[in-house]
Amino acid sequence: MQHTEREQQARQSSGWIWQAVTGVLLIVIVLLHMIFHHFEEGLLSASQVVVHVADPAIFILEILFVLVVTYHALLGVKAVIFDLQLSDSTRQKVSMGLTVLGVVTVIYGVILAFLIRSAAV
């Protein structure tokens, strides 16, 4: 029992560290995203977004953004849901569900970035 609690604490602690690391990364990425997409020319038209995303540096930034923001957001949602003091089996189901949602979100986001970039060709 104590072993399980210790494992749970270790998992929570590693979750906190990852939340912090991705949070700091996100500050940099969101800042760059806002500068490239919003603050330079205001809200961009569809054709302007396509041209922006076709830039390799911005494309890589967007892929990185989808990865990091999805991980950070769903880890945060997990912490919120776990505040409900759920049973271990429910926690496992929630973790599994959020993992699946995260993987689907990242795959969809990456495909979307490729689709938008391909419109420029």
Binding site: V24, F39, L43, A46, G76, D83, I116
Partner: protein
């Protein structure tokens, strides 16, 4: 701490009191509540943003029509609100990391007000940029 208010830790009643009605609580509780609310709203916005971007790939005309609404004063105000959430969540996150790493938890009141001040100043500057560029 929360148990002393008579509400058992965990469960919906606990969350409502902790998240929605954090009245007569410390600054730390308010910082926590704002952080959670801003985080949840930003997580929801992530999917809204992906949905909006989907129209660029499949229906660029629909996206450009959406831009008319996005560039209206209401749409720009929404963007300012979004920047407010991003700034608060970001600065408060840095505050939490700093408190944890530097062990400056006893200074959390002044740190919180610094976060609020920075958030307000930079939101106002962002509002200026957003309404200038449209």
């Amino acid at each position: 701490m929360e148990q002393s208010s008579g509400v058992k830790a965990g469960g919906l009643g606990f969350l409502i009191q902790r998240w929605i009605l954090p009245l007569k609580r410390s600054i730390g509780t308010w910082a926590f509540v704002f952080n959670r609310w801003s985080g949840v709203l930003l997580a929801i916005y992530l999917y809204v943003h992906l949905g909006i971007l989907t129209t660029i790939a499949f229906s660029p005309n629909a996206y450009d029509q959406f831009l008319v609404l996005a560039k209206s004063p209401f749409g720009l105000l929404f963007d300012v609100g979004l920047v407010l959430l991003l700034l608060y969540h970001g600065f408060n996150g840095l505050r939490i990391i700093y408190s944890a790493l530097a062990g400056k938890i006893e200074q959390h009141r002044s740190q919180f007000w610094a976060v609020v001040a920075l958030t307000i100043v930079l939101t106002l500057y962002s509002a200026f940029l957003i309404f200038s560029h449209g």
